[in-house]
């Protein structure tokens, strides 16, 4: 591994490890995201009843819960740096790419933990068919990467705004419509037990979306971060 890349990886890991340590001590973002996700899932499942719901509706409900849980907590990774006044120290010392990657990995960890908690509850509370479980898990992975790839840069943009929560949802919504639509379509088919050939197009689209969003974010982040 070239020295520059190795240096970037170790710096990004330092940012990630610092955020994990802060989160373990404060549990602010984790409690927010889990409470929001579990509460929403419980309300939705109790309201709609347990059986006979079409897989298309179940898939849509699942990703709506994931989207709003993400908007409730993923922005915290930058907001708390600004509110605590620590962003300046980080800007002065750290490579912007290391900051972005560290924050991205933190959000990926946070959303993966939420997914690990929400998914079994989703199957229990809604009695959703397991269908093609492997494909469903693939959709979860692509969804988590896509949501985090798009929202981490938005989180940095809104961290200095006065109406952070609202602005985060408003700015995230248009860029997440496309992957959410693909995720709902592919998850519906995965829950119905269709083969991988039936969801090849949305899978390719989601991979391309994640690559484009993360690459564009890496290129643009330094301009957002320095302002």
């Amino acid at each position: 591994m070239p020295a520059n890349t190795a240096g970037l990886v170790s710096k990004a890991f330092a940012v990630f490890a610092k955020d994990i340590r802060l989160e373990l001590r404060t549990k602010y973002a984790f409690n927010t995201i889990v409470m929001f996700g579990v509460t929403t899932l419980a309300i939705v499942s109790f309201s709609l009843g347990q059986s006979g719901l079409p897989t298309k509706l179940l898939a849509a409900l699942f990703w709506i819960i994931m989207f709003f849980s993400a908007t409730a907590a993923l922005a915290q990774v930058f907001i708390r740096e600004e509110e605590a006044g620590t962003a300046l120290a980080l800007k002065l010392t750290a490579d912007p790419n290391a900051v972005y990657l560290g924050k991205l990995f933190f959000n990926l960890t946070l959303l993966s933990l939420l997914t690990a908690i929400i998914t079994p509850l989703f199957f229990i509370l809604t009695d959703a068919p397991t269908g093609s479980l492997g494909l469903f898990i693939l959709m979860l992975l692509l969804g988590v990467v896509g949501l985090c790839g798009a929202t981490t840069l938005v989180a940095a943009i809104i961290s200095k705004a006065a109406v952070k929560g609202t602005l985060f949802a408003v700015l995230s919504f248009p860029i997440l419509i496309l992957p959410l639509t693909m995720l709902v379509t592919a998850t519906d088919k995965a829950l119905s037990g269709e083969p991988i050939g039936a969801i090849a197009a949305p899978v390719q689209g989601l991979i391309a979306y994640a690559v484009v969003m993360i690459t564009a974010s890496l290129l643009l982040f330094r301009f957002v971060w320095r302002e």
């Binding site: 170790s10 340590r21 620590t86 300046l88 120290a89 800007k91 002065l92 010392t93 490579d95 320095r226």
Partner: protein, 205 residues
């Protein structure tokens, strides 16, 4: 040899002019005190020199051995102590220093961290959470963090704010050492701190 050149710097916030036509050239071993009334733009000028505000007019150049320095090289060689710069309350003093040393690309040994904590009078307190520190102790820890990379450019904004007499003596000895081997720029309104520097730039005139 490092140099820092400011050429005709000017800054406006909307219609309000903060300052205009600020020029100076500093080399290693030079020190500059920036003074002026409240709102005259002292902190703004420091942030502008560090590249965190855009100048409305003029340019800033960092050079090492007469060659322009890259953004990452400037980051590695410049440090700031300021009331606007906070460290992490939910990390210990030692964890803060280790974190900032790592993201800056250095591999600072525990011995160096102990040495810095002793230098700023925080020996034995490095394992405490920064949130439990007094404002003066936090200010001392900022100096330890700023000196981690042995900076070639040391920017100090209100350098002795929140410090007791012993803390002020520690800052005076740090400035005395660094104004010989680095470029030191101090933004202040305290008469005693103006004497930290050999050159003087007054804003708001």
């Amino acid at each position: 040899m490092f140099t820092l050149t400011a050429e005709n710097l000017g800054k406006r916030f909307g219609e309000r002019k903060v300052f205009a036509d600020i020029s100076f050239e500093l080399s290693t071993g030079d020190s500059l005190a920036i003074t002026g009334p409240n709102g005259s733009g002292k902190s703004t000028l420091l942030m502008l020199l560090l590249g965190y505000h855009h100048a409305t007019r003029g340019e800033v150049h960092f050079r090492e051995e007469d060659l322009p320095m890259s953004e990452s090289r400037i980051r590695a060689c410049a440090s700031l102590v300021s009331p606007y710069l906070n460290l992490y309350d939910h990390l210990t003093g030692e964890e803060n220093l280790t974190f900032f040393a790592t993201v800056a690309g250095g591999h600072v040994a525990g011995k160096r961290i102990d040495e810095l904590l002793r230098m700023v009078g925080l020996e034995g307190r490095g394992v405490d959470m920064v949130g439990a520190y007094s404002s003066g102790m936090k200010q001392r820890l900022k100096y330890a963090a700023a000196l981690l990379n042995d900076p070639a450019f040391l920017f100090l904004d209100e350098p002795t704010s929140n410090l007791d007499d012993r803390g002020k003596d520690i800052v005076a000895s740090i400035v005395e050492e660094y104004r010989r081997k680095a470029i030191v720029i101090v933004a202040t309104n305290e008469e005693g701190e103006v004497s930290f520097a050999r050159q003087h730039c007054r804003l708001g005139q």
